[in-house]
């Protein structure tokens, strides 16, 4: 009947040396034990309240025992609440995790650091009823939200409050801060001060009231300053910093921010001088867009689809400038694996379009050619990465015969290590990709003559038909071919393997391989690679 069963009483009795406790005694003791326990808890709660706490600690129980003139229970004192663990196999049995400690260890252990002494600090919680936005105060929530709950609760008795339109008061300090930041962004975006300002934007807790002003400022400046490369970059860095700040809620202002951001990604012309590295700006903005989608994609589910549509339209419109195409590809690539797959189906026709632009003979304008190579690089990267993602999701399929065979050819693999090196470590993958994506174009611009890579591409583009014939053949035949052309054979063998694993993705890879040649191979992750080998 009581929560203390008589068995408990019996066990306790035995533990203090009473072996023959009668059933009746145990039965009548049990309810009394429960009553006393409740009494102690009641007193302990009083002690807790007077210690201004809301969590009961062992000290409170000791205090309660003291009140009842009972010896306190020693050995449980602790600064904080006890950590209880659930006994395995029981639903509602808990115990205090009490480790055995070797006394020797305790004695030999170095003295712990002395705890910090108690101190008092003072700050303004409110000035004339308004909370200043300082780090000591809790971050301000959505403007004018908090008063709602209380007025609602009292509604039943009180006349309804008519709410006046909310007046948004911006403190003088915030105004100064805003002015300073905007001035820095406009004028001295390359100074160290601006860098510090960005850090402050990314970390300060009291900036929430300024967010609408910043969004307006950014969209305004972007629309006006499309010719000013450094300004645009500075603005994008401000956006990036604002996004980083954990204390502000930027969601309600995203719809104002996004157009300016997308502008910086796919605009036809960013900056007015040739020296302006607008590619970098596009890369940066693509990253920005990706991070926005990642953070708020689940809140605004239309965000990503709309963005994708915009970018894809920009890419598929042959009338748009190559720079726009570049931005669109970069943006799509940054958005994630699903989106990247959208590029692949359009890859072949697009490359066909691009091809004349790439060749020196056909495109005399060096600038145009450079742009085309840029796009080629970024397409390569996007396609490669999607293949990489694709392969990563494959379950490892240990096909023993193939395994044994490829093992014997380990030498061949090590023979061409420099390509592989980039992909041996998945962590290192990212920078390596970048290098590839930018390598090609820079060599082109440096030499302004057909680069070796170009030649290679052309040859490989021409050659796939030859290898394609061999692909459907079984892997057992492979060793024979290794001797002739280890590298190429290996490639086709891998493709073959994938072909067998997954017809669909294999086909994709083949297409990609056809389009890009062997440069795509560096995107194939090393685990898979080693599996095939």
């Amino acid at each position: 009947m009581s929560i203390v069963p008589k068995e408990t009483i019996e066990v306790i009795a035995q533990s203090i040396g009473i072996n023959n406790l009668s059933d009746d005694a145990a039965l009548s003791l049990a309810p009394d034990v429960e009553y006393r326990m409740r009494e102690i808890m009641q007193e302990a709660i009083k002690c807790m309240r007077h210690s201004r706490r809301t969590i009961l600690t062992t000290d409170d129980v000791d205090g309660a025992l003291n009140l009842r003139n009972v010896e306190p229970v020693y050995g449980f004192t602790s600064g904080g609440p006890l950590q209880f663990k659930r006994a395995i196999g029981h639903r509602d049995l808990f115990y205090v995790d009490d480790r055995d400690v070797d006394l020797k260890d305790v004695i030999e252990a170095p003295l712990p650091k002395a705890p910090l002494d108690t101190g008092v600090v003072c700050h303004w919680l409110a000035i004339e009823g308004v909370q200043p936005a300082i780090p000591e105060n809790a971050p301000v929530g959505a403007i004018a939200a908090p008063s709602n709950g209380t007025t609602y609760e009292q509604k039943e008795e009180l006349p309804v409050d008519i709410k006046l339109p909310v007046k948004h008061v911006l403190s003088r300090e915030l105004q100064l801060y805003f002015d300073k930041i905007t001035e820095l962004t406009l004028r001295k975006s390359d100074s160290t001060l601006f860098k510090e300002a960005l850090v402050s934007l990314a970390t300060d807790s009291g900036l929430h009231p300024l967010v609408p002003y910043f969004t307006y400022f950014i969209s305004d400046e972007v629309s006006r300053g499309l010719n000013d490369y450094s300004l645009l970059f500075a603005l994008m860095r401000v956006v990036w910093s604002l996004l980083q700040n954990p204390h502000i809620h930027i969601e309600p202002y995203l719809h104002q921010l996004m157009p300016s951001v997308v502008t910086c990604l796919v605009s036809k012309k960013l900056g007015n001088r040739i020296a302006d590295n607008h590619w970098e700006l596009r890369d940066f903005t693509a990253k920005l867009v990706a991070s926005i989608c990642k953070r708020f994609g689940h809140v605004y589910n239309t965000l990503q689809t709309r963005l994708t549509k915009t970018l894809l339209n920009a890419l598929l419109d042959p009338k748009r400038a190559l720079t726009q195409h570049y931005g669109a590809v970069q943006g799509l690539a940054a958005l994630g694996p699903n989106v990247r797959l959208l590029i692949l189906p359009n890859l072949e026709p697009y490359l066909r379009l691009l091809e004349p632009e790439l060749l020196l003979e056909k495109q005399k304008n060096e600038m145009k050619r450079y742009e085309a190579w840029r796009i080629y690089g970024v397409l390569l990267r996007a396609a490669g990465q999607s293949i990489f993602e694709r392969l990563k999701i494959f379950p490892p399929l240990p096909s023993t015969p193939a395994h044994a065979i490829w093992k014997s050819k380990e030498k061949v693999v090590t023979a061409a290590p420099n390509k592989r090196k980039a992909s041996t470590e998945p962590m290192e993958h990212e920078p390596a990709l970048k290098k590839i994506a930018t390598d090609g174009p820079t060599t082109v611009s440096a030499n302004s003559s057909p680069s070796p890579m170009q030649v290679e591409t052309v040859t490989t583009l021409a050659s796939p038909g030859k290898y394609e014939a061999g692909q459907p053949s079984s892997s057992e035949k492979m060793p024979n071919r290794v001797g002739k052309d280890g590298k190429v054979l290996k490639k086709s063998a891998i493709l073959n393997q994938i072909w067998k694993d997954d017809l669909n993705s294999g086909r994709t890879l083949v297409t990609v391989f056809e389009l890009f040649g062997e440069s795509i191979l560096s995107f194939i992750p090393s685990p898979e690679m080693s599996l095939f080998i």
Binding site: P31, Q42, K46, H123, A126, Q131, E136, P159
Partner: protein, 668 residues
């Protein structure tokens, strides 16, 4: 005897014909036992009744049955009357439970309790927690709460029709157990007309020890809530507009002071005689208070004379206070106060209480390691906020005490208690601190000498709270021993002992005119005591959990009390009625404070917020009254969230700057 037999057979036949098998069986049993003849003129229902009674001893289940039927009937009753009938359920439930326990059916009592306690969990969870532990007859005797429940009847106001419904139901269903419980423990006050509104519930919610009548009787005593005659504020008001020139003011003040001290010395002599000539503010009787006094615009608070001999203030102190009063910021619902927040760091969960001196320059913390620590904010250097107020308290100088390792501490350490320090209070001038502790003592410390001056022993159990009176010299304490005591600084024995609470006295607060103290208790009542006579003059019933904080309005008419659940209640002292409950906090209200003109109430809570409430009932805001139309309108003005720091104490300075103190706590 033969006649008897004939009758019996006649009755048996009748029962058979009617199909009352059980009754027939019963009758046969009775015949066998040669029991007393039955009144056969009654209808067969009686037999049924007897049948019930015959089984009553072993049939405990009828409590359960009866209650569950009554419950389902109540829940399906008419909406208009339902809430009245629901009120009946709770006393029936607890008394049924205690009946079962008293009769020794412990197992059944427990199942009964478990089956139905959820219904009342919302309103009476703490009572139920207590009762749940009652497991034997002896517990019923031992537990004060249970005993007082058993001894006293519950008063329930119920309208004619609901009462009729209930009676009809009880008769129809023959639930004698329920009828018995209701007859024994409930006192119905049947009123004609419409059923009462739900909000009237408060009176029934708390079943206090002394019966309701006693409480309402006490509440009819007259009290003088007016302010002290001749207070500084009053003088300032009189001088009011004239004083544009500060020098002129000083001169006049000096004259005033001379007068004042003369007057005082005279007063002191004929203290006893003068009390009779008090301007009496008749307390409004509970019966005759249909028209609330505060509905009409009232003049400034009436003045009363002090019942205690008050300490004499020095001229310099008076000067500084007057200076403050002149510089006071007027607060209202549109002009909110500035709040300076003192955060305690690295307390290692040991801070039990905190207190801020009147001018905010000193901050004291009482710790569970028996120590009392006092910080002088001026010495901390970075206190730009409070430094402007420093002028008020430049004489105080506590040395920076060097710690044992020669490391300088930022605070003055007061050691002397031998148990956790539960409360600390500064004297109005900031030169003394009182601290109360679990070691049952109260200690007086000097902030000038940095030493313990007196140790007051008198309480038998931990002293939960201690408060200096608004004029200093006197102080009140409250303890686990269920008493509150009045002390003066110069005597080591208490002057008065206030006994009457049924549980711990958790907090204590002085009335603005020093003639009364209010105490809040774990028995969920607030009481007002006359300091001179030591009598209880008001009982305020309505809270649903332990009362943790109290505040008196500066005009002396209202009192606010905050409890464990986060409810704050505003009381009218003269009527003893709750003006408005203020809902908003979600956890314990540790501290309450009225602004100096009484227009704003600040509350600090364990939910890490300071809330500001509009108290437009103040006599000094007649404009607001006219505008709103409802003078009792209280609303939350602003919620100021702290950064995970529960607010331990609040205090308005004389210039209406709000000081708040709290401890930075990690979340578990």
């Amino acid at each position: 005897m033969e006649n008897m037999q004939a009758v019996n057979s006649f009755v048996t036949a009748y029962l058979k014909k009617k199909g009352f098998k059980e009754a027939e069986q019963l009758l046969e049993d009775l015949q066998k036992k040669e029991s007393a003849p039955i009144d056969f003129h009654n209808d067969p229902d009686l037999a049924k009744l007897i049948h019930h009674f015959s089984q009553s001893e072993d049939d405990v289940a009828r409590y359960q049955d009866g209650y569950s039927k009554l419950r389902s009937w109540t829940y399906s009753s008419l909406d208009l009357y339902k809430h009245e009938l629901l009120r009946v359920l709770y006393p029936v439930f607890i008394h049924s439970f205690m009946d079962l326990v008293a009769k020794g059916h412990l197992q059944e009592a427990r199942t009964f309790f478990n089956a139905f306690h959820e219904d009342h969990e919302l309103m009476h969870s703490r009572d139920l927690q207590k009762l749940e532990g009652v497991l034997s007859q002896s517990h019923l005797e031992e537990m004060e709460f249970a005993r007082s429940l058993r001894q006293n009847k519950v008063n329930i106001k119920i309208c004619q029709y609901s009462y009729g419904l209930l009676l009809q139901y009880l008769h129809k269903t023959q639930s004698t157990a329920m009828l018995g419980v209701i007859n024994e423990h409930i006192n119905f006050q049947v009123t004609s007309g419409q059923p009462g509104s739900i909000s009237d519930d408060t009176e029934v919610v708390t079943l206090i020890g002394s019966c309701q009548d006693a409480a309402s009787l006490i509440n009819q005593k007259e009290i003088h809530w007016g302010l002290l005659e001749d207070s500084l504020e009053e003088r300032l008001e009189k001088e009011g507009g004239l004083l544009s020139d500060s020098e002129k003011a000083e001169a006049e003040n000096k004259e005033g002071d001379v007068d004042d001290s003369k007057k005082r010395s005279v007063e002191g002599g004929k203290q006893g005689a003068s009390t009779k000539k008090l301007k009496k503010d008749k307390a409004v009787n509970a019966t005759a208070k249909s028209a609330r006094p505060e509905a009409k615009p009232t003049p400034a608070a009436p003045r009363v004379k002090p019942e205690l001999t008050l300490p004499v203030m020095s001229t310099e102190v008076e000067q500084s206070i007057l200076e403050d009063l002149r510089n006071r910021v007027q607060l209202s619902s549109i002009a909110l106060p500035s709040v300076s927040f003192y955060t305690f760091l690295n307390t290692h969960n040991g801070l039990n209480c905190s207190s801020v001196s009147q001018d905010g320059s000193l901050v004291a913390g009482g710790f569970s390691d028996s120590s009392l620590k006092v910080w002088d904010m001026a010495k901390l250097g970075q206190q730009a906020g409070s430094s402007t107020l420093q002028g008020e308290n430049d004489s105080t100088s506590s040395e920076h005490v060097a710690g044992p390792n020669g490391v300088k501490r930022s605070y003055t350490l007061f050691q002397g208690h031998s148990g956790p320090v539960y409360s600390a209070t500064f004297s109005p001038l900031g030169d003394f601190i009182l601290s109360s502790s679990a070691d049952t003592t109260i200690r007086l410390w000097s902030t000038k000498l940095n030493a313990n001056l007196v140790c007051y022993k008198g309480h038998n159990y931990p002293v939960w709270d201690v408060q200096f009176s608004p004029v200093g010299h006197y102080f009140a304490s409250s303890s686990h021993d269920r008493t509150a005591r009045i002390w003066s600084m110069d005597r080591i024995q208490p002057l008065r002992i206030m006994a009457g609470h049924l549980s711990d006295v958790d907090c204590v607060q002085w009335h603005a005119n020093c003639n009364y103290i209010a105490t809040g208790s774990s028995d969920r009542t607030v009481r007002l005591w006359d300091v001179q006579s030591g009598e209880c003059v008001r009982i305020f019933i309505g809270h649903r959990s332990m009362i943790l904080s109290l505040a008196m309005s500066p005009d002396g008419r209202y009192m606010a009390s905050g409890d464990e659940d986060g409810t704050i209640m505003m009381w009218d002292l003269s009527s003893g009625r709750c003006v408005t409950p203020l809902m908003g906090h979600t956890s314990c209200v540790w501290s309450l404070a009225f602004s100096c003109e009484g227009t704003v109430l600040a509350s600090g809570s364990a939910d890490c917020t300071v809330k500001l409430w509009d108290v437009t009932t103040s006599t000094k805001a007649p404009k607001n009254e006219e505008k709103s139309g409802n003078p009792n309108r209280l609303r939350s003005l602003k919620t100021l969230a702290t950064k995970s720091s529960p607010v331990y104490s609040l205090r308005f300075s004389r210039r209406n700057l709000l000081f708040a103190a709290g401890v930075l706590s990690k979340k578990y």
